[in-house]
Symmetry: C2
Subunit: 191 residues, 2 copies
């Protein structure tokens, strides 16, 4: 069951067998169906979820409209990090675009582990650092690219994702209307 999450951690850090045991007994598993929510805005995010299977989107409501701000899929983490880290009510929804299986660790269990051994604090630091890299890159892309360029990069880097996400959600993520995305796609495909 924990093969994927173990692989993920092995890329970051060296756990000995004993660390794994301590870690695994803190994990919980949740399954939800397509369309269902793992987290709704206004709730305090209690856990970080490793995606064992499926695809989710991160969204929030702006001017009564639902805006997709990110996607995450197999072997990635998802959480409302701001809400999770501050343990305050957050602004984000996490919704399953496909049936999903999550492996979760709660805030309290994580704090417990951080205090137990340096290796856990190190792992937490590295995961945070990775997040900084990922979010920084997203931010830079948004600051420096046009919608068309962002779409092209998405096609290049996350092509498999495009097949699994409805276009209107992609448009929302790219910060353009579905109509405009449709025009960009037409233009790219060669008028």
């Amino acid at each position: 069951m924990f093969k994927n999450i173990k692989n993920y951690f092995n890329q970051l850090i060296t756990f000995i067998e004993d660390d794994w045991l301590l870690f695994e007994e803190r994990l919980s598993i949740i399954e939800i169906k397509k369309g269902d929510y793992l987290l709704k805005e206004g709730q305090t995010c209690k856990m970080v979820s490793f995606i064992e299977k499926g695809l989710v989107r991160l969204s929030c409501t702006i001017d009564y409209k639902d805006v997709t701000t990110g996607f995450a899929t197999e072997n990635e983490y998802i959480s409302d990090y701001e809400s999770f880290l501050l343990q305050q009510p957050g602004k984000y929804n996490i919704q399953a675009i496909e049936d999903c299986t999550f492996i979760n660790i709660s805030y309290l269990d994580l704090q417990y582990l951080y205090k137990q051994k340096l290796v856990f604090s190190d792992a937490g630091r590295k995961i945070s650092e990775n997040l900084v890299i990922i979010i920084s890159h997203t931010l830079t892309a948004l600051l420096t690219q046009t919608p068309e360029e962002r779409y092209l990069e998405l096609v290049q880097i996350k092509s498999p994702l495009l097949q699994r996400v409805p276009q209107y959600m992609l448009a929302s993520y790219l910060r353009i209307t579905p109509e405009h995305l449709s025009r960009i796609r037409k233009k790219i495909s060669g008028n």
Copy 2:
């Protein structure tokens, strides 16, 4: 000399006197003049810099144009985190908008400290977590607000900063042209 940086850390974590000694002997001080660069794109960012005095901007070059992506001032950190964390050449410049004094810690010294004591790894984790919160918030703002709304928030939250930054840099940061910012300001001030 290290009063400000100590205050900053005391908000995050409890260092004992011994920790401070270990920490302080790893710090270095750099001063640069207005207009000069602490880091230029293409270089690998070797350190994280606490701003003791002054004001800097983070920028990168897009289509031969210089784009401001962030500001940082007294009692904040600045770095090209992506370049720093990966120890790879980066895309960002750090330029002094005013004469600056930085207190720096190098990548290698930081790795050394992380191995010494849990408290340093914990501090590093918390700083990364703070960064995640800050960058996430910036990202969300960019995803969900119009240029005018972003300007108004900037006025509210970082009013002192506005006095110190030329308007064309602000415009670049808001992702609009200086002309457009000028029009927004005119409109807000009451036609």
